[in-house]
């Protein structure tokens, strides 16, 4: 009986979640609702063995946790350490990464965007202990992609980051998979949904400050909106795309960054009269061995494919040697969409097993 249980667990992909906020809970909801489908279609079975959250506490059970119970605790605002069942409690995130039996660590902890911590330390600890990282945190890939990727390779594990750009809408796995035979020479896109929403509202006649208030009310913009409106969020995505897809490491200093705060109602009217529309456009171009990158407002003709992307939607055009332009349009945020980015990376690791 014990043997049978063990061999059943051995077949399962064992997952530790570091961080149990919106995305962590989204992943759990998807894994619960898709359990039978993923097993029958891909022979994929997951077991969440540990959840560690700096606010909500830590539970670890090597045989797998009751996911529904963990979700119920989180929803009730209860601490995970009230989990009923035979398990370890009270561990910190690093001990959880190092000492649990997880194969994959989903790094979803609240992270300082300037230092990338604690996510970078979490990634290093996982790699050094032979565990894959799947993360939607932009910090590690934007600040230390090359070093982390090297450490992952050295330890024969994967550093998967689909969720860092356009949430679960496939960008990195598309470029590294179905587009792998192409050389990508340029990338151009709308990578910040908050700014795109705000520009669309301003086009309807609202002033910048009023639109910002509305975006904050709706939860699109944060209390400190700088990350979005000054282009820092899009810049981090540009750095990630350049590092992952252009074989050419760049950092913040290499990105020409201008936000949307200086767009006036007069500029909006002028654009309208010219059959054009302001968009915050992220661009990466490979010129010989150099990469030129920018995030800035551009006045696009209405016939430009990116001009029709409205609301919080994101879009990205890959220009390549063999396919010309391929454009992907999809969600750029959301609990289930970002949760899916974690699932798609876990499935990619499963396929390579």
């Amino acid at each position: 009986m014990m043997k049978e249980m063990k061999s059943r667990l051995a077949k399962k992909t064992k997952i530790a979640l570091i961080g149990f906020g919106t995305v962590g809970q989204g992943v759990c909801e998807i894994l619960l609702s898709k359990e039978n489908e993923l097993k029958s279609k891909y022979g994929f079975e997951a077991s969440i063995v540990a959840i560690s959250d700096v606010m909500k506490g830590t539970v670890y059970c090597a045989d797998g946790l009751d996911i529904q119970q963990c979700l119920d605790l989180a929803k009730a605002g209860d601490n995970l350490e009230n989990y009923a069942g035979d398990c370890e409690k009270g561990w910190d995130s690093l001990r959880t990464i190092r000492e649990t039996n997880a194969d994959i660590v989903c790094e979803l902890a609240f992270t300082n965007v300037k230092t990338g911590e604690p996510a970078i330390t979490h990634c290093k600890a996982a790699f050094e202990n032979g565990k894959h990282i799947v993360t939607s945190n932009k910090g590690p890939a934007a600040l230390q992609y090359a070093a982390l990727q090297k450490l992952a390779e050295k330890n024969n594990v994967k550093f998967m980051i689909e969720g860092t750009v356009m949430s679960g809408t496939p960008i990195l796995n598309l470029a590294n998979g179905p587009l792998a035979g192409c050389t990508i020479t340029a990338i151009k896109g709308i990578l910040n949904g908050t700014c795109n929403y705000m520009l669309c509202e301003m086009e309807k006649g609202m002033a910048y400050d009023d639109v910002l208030d509305k975006a904050q009310e709706l939860g699109y913009a944060e209390a400190d909106p700088t990350g979005d409106v000054e282009g820092f969020d899009a810049m981090a995505k540009v750095i990630i795309l350049a590092n992952v897809l252009m074989d050419n490491p760049i950092s913040a200093a290499d990105v020409d960054r201008v936000g949307i705060a200086k767009i006036t109602p007069e500029m909006m009217t002028e654009a309208k009269n010219e059959n054009a529309r302001w968009k915050l456009i992220s661009t990466i171009e490979k010129r010989g061995n150099e990469v030129k990158a920018s995030v800035k407002p551009e006045k696009l003709s209405l016939t430009h494919p990116l001009a029709s992307i409205m609301g919080a939607t994101n879009a990205l055009t890959f220009t390549s040697d063999l396919l010309g332009d391929v454009t992907i349009v999809g969600a750029g945020a959301g609990k289930i969409e970002t949760g899916y980015s974690i699932l798609t990376d876990i499935l990619a690791i499963h396929r390579e097993k």
Copy 2:
């Protein structure tokens, strides 16, 4: 020395091309120009061991052909059997499929769209002889997808058909790879570039017959344009998408098909006045266990994402449970683009080795 040569060949993916027209030559050009890149990035090395074309003849060399020489012969309108070098000549396509040492058969022969022959027979022969099929011919997948897929699985080989829909723009490998964790509930798209081009020209004021003449001059439409303008080409793609991605086999009788021939200048003007635009839209919707499929002209509001797809460009929106709408816009035809569809399927097979 012989041993070394043999082990080097063993590592290479050995390919037979059945058909050496535009697409076959496109694949060869890509393999030549990308040889070093594909080797250094993916450890992928290809050897074209055989080319068989009903008009241009057959050459087979188990150690690999000189691809450039084959391309030169084709360009000069010369028969492949004038190939200079130690090789077999005069085989037919079936003997080439069955008796050469190819791992992968690229089925690119001119095929009757109504019977799917000789492509279907070629696919069966390949599977029965333990060889993968990569094809951009719509016939096999549109007419006999389930049976062929079953035969491929039984023989532990792959039936790869990325090029059947939107040429090399990733659709099927995207859905089966990065979107694999989603359940696709609806697909809507512009899948015939010729019709989209013609509708765009008609919008500028040209009458249907004049536009058709122009499309034929430009090589977009064939001498017998029925396949495009009556929606048969898009219908075949709809059947393929339903069969591959919706687990629900359908056939031509299940598709509500209307072409663009009855669109008048008056209808164009009316649409313009309504801020709308006519498009030939392909739709597949899953409703419970049923699939509803159609190809027909639809008057889309200019704010609809597919309304802005102009010229010969194709586009497709996947609606899924977890990601909402994901839209892909890209080329739907072209020598290099369709050649790339063959390469991407070959690389997918290589990755699974």
